[in-house]
């Protein structure tokens, strides 16, 4: 079956612009995660969705970052008024449920470059 897909694969934007990154999880997976990978910071957890529960936003670095998940499937990560430090690869993952032992399947990522 299809894996996790993300779009766009690359995004170049100017400082101050808003960007939207999209994630299509594996069909049937109830849990969805966003991570960010940047030089010097490694992989950081950003936000987590599980079914209809309120998302865990504890990893979002600032209020410029927001995410939503519509219909329990597709998710969009929005970054408003982008800054150069937002440049990173944004990775989405999904898992069957939210158990700590559930494998998280990652998408190919979106490389964001803020000029």
């Amino acid at each position: 079956g299809a894996g996790v897909s993300q779009s766009p694969s690359n995004k170049v934007t100017e400082k101050g612009k808003d960007v939207e990154l999209r994630c299509d999880p594996i069909s049937g997976h109830t849990a969805l995660y966003w991570y960010r990978q940047s030089l010097g910071q490694g992989l950081e957890f950003l936000i987590y969705f599980q079914g209809n529960s309120a998302p865990d936003k504890s990893g979002l670095p600032s209020d410029r970052f927001s995410a939503e998940r519509t219909g329990g499937s597709v998710s969009t990560l929005t970054i408003q008024r982008t800054q150069q430090e937002d440049s990173a690869v944004y990775l989405c993952a999904s898992s069957l449920s939210s158990l700590a032992t559930d494998t998280q399947y990652f998408g190919p990522g979106t490389r964001l470059t803020v000029l």
Binding site: V4, A31, Y33, Y35, Q37, G42, L43, F45, Y48, Q50, D56, G59, V89, L91, A93, S95, S98, L99, A100, T101, D102, T103, Q104, Y105, F106, G107, P108, G109
Partner: protein
């Protein structure tokens, strides 16, 4: 903050040799997972070892876990050029789903 720390940061070996990477972590864990990443993009889950397990095998991969030393190792036997990638250990925070990753080991397998 980083939970896992991989060692070494970079490793270069010849095809056919074995590669060993280590991971140390700080707090108690439910399980420890190893991932591979090619060319800085998507991560591929390799293996999960639970806290009550000491060793686990999957194909050419062997993972050990020593909870008393808070460390794990990943051994890749008979390496191939296609094994060239970055390898990360990851741990859920407590029994939680949030994975905390180390900074990874860059493995280069020379043909």
């Amino acid at each position: 903050s980083q939970q896992g720390e991989e060692d070494p940061q970079a490793l270069s070996i010849q095809e056919g040799e074995n590669a060993t990477m280590n991971c140390s972590y700080k707090t108690s864990i439910n399980n420890l997972q190893w991932y591979r990443q090619n060319s800085g993009r998507g991560l591929v889950h390799l293996i999960l070892i639970r806290s009550n397990e000491r060793e686990k095998h999957s194909g050419r991969l062997r993972v050990t876990l020593d909870t008393s030393k808070k460390s794990s190792s990943l051994l890749i036997t008979a390496s191939r050029a296609a094994d060239t990638a970055s390898y990360f250990c990851a741990t859920p925070r407590g029994s939680n789903y949030k994975l905390t990753f180390g900074k990874g080991t860059l493995l280069t397998v020379n043909p």
